[in-house]
Symmetry: C2
Subunit: 309 residues, 2 copies
């Protein structure tokens, strides 16, 4: 699969270039705002969501002039959410991607404004990318954005996340928060570009299920990391979920049960990808994401988990 | 002009209803987030910008099914900017519209999330409203939103605003901030709906000039209010510009000069409105906004100013 692998350096470089190219800075941008925006744009993470977008459009023969801006937009929404999440009034994180959080260097206000600039630019990129799409497709895309990012998605999930201590602290509430927060970005990464491929109802249903399994597996892995890893290793502030009484699957279920649940979810996701490939071979690139998730899961679902359990 | 006056109670009620109807809350919205969103949506200000949108679409025979969502969206962008501006890391305000700021009641994080929910819903409303417009019109609308709200507009202006103390503190910098911050919302209120009216180049140029004059007059008036009014009268935290070293025309120019400048700007705006009405009579509703601005200016540009000077 290396010819156009979604995990190739080439794919990384193309998205990284687009993140810098479309960054919302201009000639007159205030220096601190510019610094947060350009530093954030120039220091991408694993780009899971952006790769998902670009792989989806590429696999379905959709031009990069649409795919790359869409991928960039989804990544901008993601980095904006990280900038907000790290604020003192939210998760009060000190490091992100191995660096001090921008609000520690340039102040909270500038971090907030940078996040807003990314969100604004993301909407513009999506608007431009979908300009020539039929009205019905644009309607579905708008609805997807509204559902994923608003009170029923990312924003609503973060609100529940912050009030988790005063909830029933159940595995159900943990799942609910994960679906709203993590699920929003996975859905944007997979469902938004999938709308451009004119999927059948069966494909759309399967894609939605896949989003569910991936979301819960990814969030479960993140939760395990938070419990097991050190700040140094993760490159971001960890171990905070328990300290801040935040929803964490490994905290509410215990590490062994969380581990089992993640493995079960990965299995369900794997079968769903197989089903999609059977429906339409173009979805076979999803196998790469599935393998990647499974490979990433191994360290925390096996050795470390066993040590910690 | 009372039959369909832009300052009528009927216009106020229609927009107020739409603000509540489209508010970004759902059945599962977390209680604090819901409270900030519904309280904010239910307590509208003067709705200058939203009235401008709806008056523009109405005057040009554009259906309310487009005009009202657009007006609501522009007001949502405005209230989001107020929620952010009032945060401790920004203007650190304590009251807004005669009430304690939401971050004092429900916390900073919830205020931020509510603002994001409003922004997200605003983009959705605009997307839905423009669904059947030609691609070129949607392109211009996207560009208008990007320019008004991003680093070159609202966000960039707020960044300069917060760093005003370390700028040259010149009248030019004050104007620059006003154009980016206040200008963004005036432009969204006037230019965004004007795009739907297929304006001639001459009309567009005149509308852009009018935005400039109104913006600088409005911001100048706000600055004078900040210097002259008490918190009680203004219904929001005032007198802070000097304390926080924020851009304020009346501080950098002195009250008499600021007053003269505002009067000059109002004169320029009045002539521009006259020019627009000459070009196309449909723009005559702008006279009402012009009269309203001039009437609102009188108290601070005459008696109070004379007392304070």
């Amino acid at each position: 699969m290396n010819h156009s692998s979604v995990w190739s350096d080439a794919m990384q470089a193309r998205i990284a270039d687009a993140l810098v190219e479309h960054a919302p800075v201009g000639g007159a941008t205030e220096a601190h705002l510019r610094a947060v925006i350009t530093d954030t744009a120039a220091r991408p993470g694993k780009l899971f969501r952006a790769r998902l977008v670009l792989a989806t459009t590429t696999a379905h023969g959709i031009n990069d002039s649409i795919g790359l801006p869409l991928a960039t937009a989804v990544e901008y929404f993601h980095v904006a959410s990280l900038l907000f999440d790290d604020l003192p009034c939210m998760d009060n994180a000190t490091t992100r991607r191995g660096q001090p959080c921008p609000h520690h260097v340039h102040g909270e206000a500038t971090s907030i404004l940078a996040a807003l600039a990314f969100i604004n630019r993301a909407y513009a990129l999506i608007g431009f990318a979908l300009l020539d799409q039929p009205a019905l497709m644009r309607l579905k895309a708008q609805a997807c954005l509204d559902a994923c990012l608003g009170s029923s998605g990312l924003v609503g999930g973060q609100a529940r996340d912050l009030r988790f201590a005063s909830s029933d602290r159940s595995p159900r509430e943990v799942t609910r928060v994960a679906m709203a927060k993590t699920g929003a970005m996975i859905s944007l990464g997979l469902l938004l570009p999938a709308l451009l491929t004119a999927p059948s109802q069966a494909e759309m249903r399967a894609l939605e299920s896949l989003c569910l399994y991936w979301t819960l597996a990814l969030q479960g892995l993140d939760d395990l990391h938070d419990v097991l890893a050190t700040s140094f290793r993760a490159g971001k502030t960890t171990g905070r979920d328990r300290a801040l009484v935040r929803p964490n699957l490994a905290v509410v279920l215990g590490v062994p049960q969380a581990r089992a649940r993640i493995l079960r979810l990965l299995g369900q996701a794997e079968r769903k990808v197989g089903h999609l490939v059977n429906l339409t071979p173009a979805w076979s690139y999803l196998l790469e994401f599935q393998s990647h998730l499974a490979a990433n899961a191994t360290p925390v679902t096996s050795q470390r988990a066993a040590l910690a359990a």
